[in-house]
């Protein structure tokens, strides 16, 4: 089963998933009951924007504003991977 991400879906962290800065190790992490997922800078930037209000398109636009050119496929693929692992949930508005 592979997940496809639509541009107008609204992502947010899955239930029971929390993101935070890990000061001791200078990195961003996702916290789950039995796991700590270490995020790279791109991942952290994407997930910070998954606030349950922005659409996937909105996230791509916000990233562009901050970092210049951002390939939407890359954002879609990243989110799809996290949805499959249930670290991220999508709600579809309308």
């Amino acid at each position: 089963m592979s997940v496809t991400v639509s541009a107008d879906a609204v992502p947010r962290l899955g239930r029971g998933v929390r993101m935070r800065y890990d000061k001791a190790r200078d990195r961003y992490v996702l916290l789950l009951p039995e796991t700590v997922v270490v995020l790279n800078a791109t991942g952290a930037a994407i997930l910070e924007l998954c606030d349950g209000a922005r659409t996937v398109d909105g996230i791509v636009a916000a990233l562009r504003e901050r970092y210049g050119e951002v390939p939407p496929e890359q954002v879609h693929a990243y989110l799809a991977k996290l949805v499959e692992r249930r670290h991220v949930e999508m709600t579809h508005e309308h």
Binding site: M1, V3, G14, R15, G16, R18, R20, D22, A24, R25, V29, L31, L32, P33, E34, V36, E84, R86
Partner: protein, 364 residues
């Protein structure tokens, strides 16, 4: 460089009390439960949680015994949350009343893991030594109603492993997000009950087929974590991710240890009533004894897997051989492997009975 001190623990396992309304024969709690009555105070636990967070811990597992028996559980959760820790309640769910659940929710509890003994009341209550199944289901539903994800934990053994398909169906009915099927680790009361708990090869093979199919079928809906039975494995597991490498366990009386089964190891105690967590983690003999790979004897010392499984479990080596420095006898390269083979042979020869008598652990 092999004994470099790791950058602080990732997780704190706080075993708040060993008291419990249940009496599971597979319980990993120590045999001498009565020796742990002098429990840490609320303020002690709040200090332990804060010191762990300062050391770099990101997660706090609240377990026991039954952690809900501590009236101050929500206070401890609130402190852990204040420190940014991810808080996970590991519970039998007895005592998870509506009021307690709401109080914990308000305190910011992140996650609840409920253990079940089987998929139906008769067997579940027999294994638990106490009528409890119906209340567990009710509590599991409450977890979901309050918006927490639901993780179930079922310890697998000879007496319930044949029902793994029905266990999975029950988990689906409850709307679980995740189920851990954990083959029994032979610590504490499970060690005492080993002969009645160790499954046969045939039982395991059948269960593994079922689990594999269910994983496929439920992918994306319910996550299934299957913890392999290490008596049947070729290599041991890297216990706790390495001794004093990732996890910090504090028991009800304040002893700190790298593994929840380390109670009986012949190492000097390290207690949070007497020392800072930082000293305990970095320098105490309890934590440095088996850190890294320098302590290893052969065959581990010269083995290419020594950084992979770190020589296996020290507590298991001690339980089986009386010497914590030996290679985990689960490893087929261990000179003591025959001890595991003998237990396995017994489980496969003696009889096909799956209802051998169990010794219930005491409640306190």
């Amino acid at each position: 460089m092999s004994t470099e001190i790791p950058e602080g623990p990732l997780g704190l396992l706080a075993e708040l009390t060993y008291r419990c309304p249940l009496a599971c024969a597979y319980c990993s709690n120590p045999i001498e439960i009565a020796a742990y009555r002098d429990e840490l105070s609320t303020a002690d636990w709040q200090r332990v949680v804060s010191e762990a967070a300062e050391l770099g811990a990101l997660q706090c597992h609240l377990s026991g015994g039954e952690p809900l028996l501590r009236r101050d559980l929500a206070q401890i959760v609130a402190t852990a949350r204040d420190q940014g820790l991810y808080t996970n309640l590991v519970t039998s769910a007895l005592g998870f009343t509506e009021a307690r659940a709401a109080e914990l929710h308000d305190a910011g509890l992140d996650h609840v893991q409920v253990s079940l003994q089987a998929d139906e009341p008769t067997l579940s209550d027999r294994i638990a030594g106490t009528p409890s199944f119906d209340r567990k289901l009710e509590a599991a539903r409450r977890v979901r109603e309050l918006g927490w994800p639901l993780t179930l934990n079922v310890v697998l053994h000879r007496q319930n492993i044949d029902r793994v398909d029905r266990v999975l169906a029950a988990a689906e009915d409850l709307g679980a997000d995740r189920i851990e099927l954990a083959n029994t680790q032979y610590y504490g009361w499970a060690w005492r009950n080993r002969a009645a708990l160790l499954p046969s090869r045939e039982q395991l093979a059948a269960a593994e087929v079922t689990v594999r199919a269910a994983k496929e079928r439920l992918r994306g809906r319910m996550e299934i974590i299957y913890v392999v039975p290490d008596y049947y494995a070729t290599y041991p597991k890297p216990c706790m991710g390495g001794w004093g490498a990732r996890q910090l366990v504090v028991v009800p009386t304040g002893d700190a240890m790298p593994c929840l089964a380390a109670h009986e190891l012949p190492l000097p105690r390290a207690n949070v009533r007497e020392a800072s967590l930082e000293w305990i983690w970095r320098d105490s003999p309890m934590f440095t004894a088996f850190r890294g790979t320098d302590w290893m004897p052969d065959p581990c010392a010269s083995c290419s897997r020594r950084e992979v499984d770190l020589g296996g479990c020290r507590c298991q080596a001690f339980a089986l051989t009386g010497d914590a420095t030996r290679t985990d006898p689960v490893c087929h390269l261990s000179p003591d492997h025959h001890l595991v083979e003998a237990a396995v042979e017994e489980a496969n020869e003696a009889s096909t009975r799956t209802d051998l008598p169990l010794v219930a652990r005491p409640h306190a």
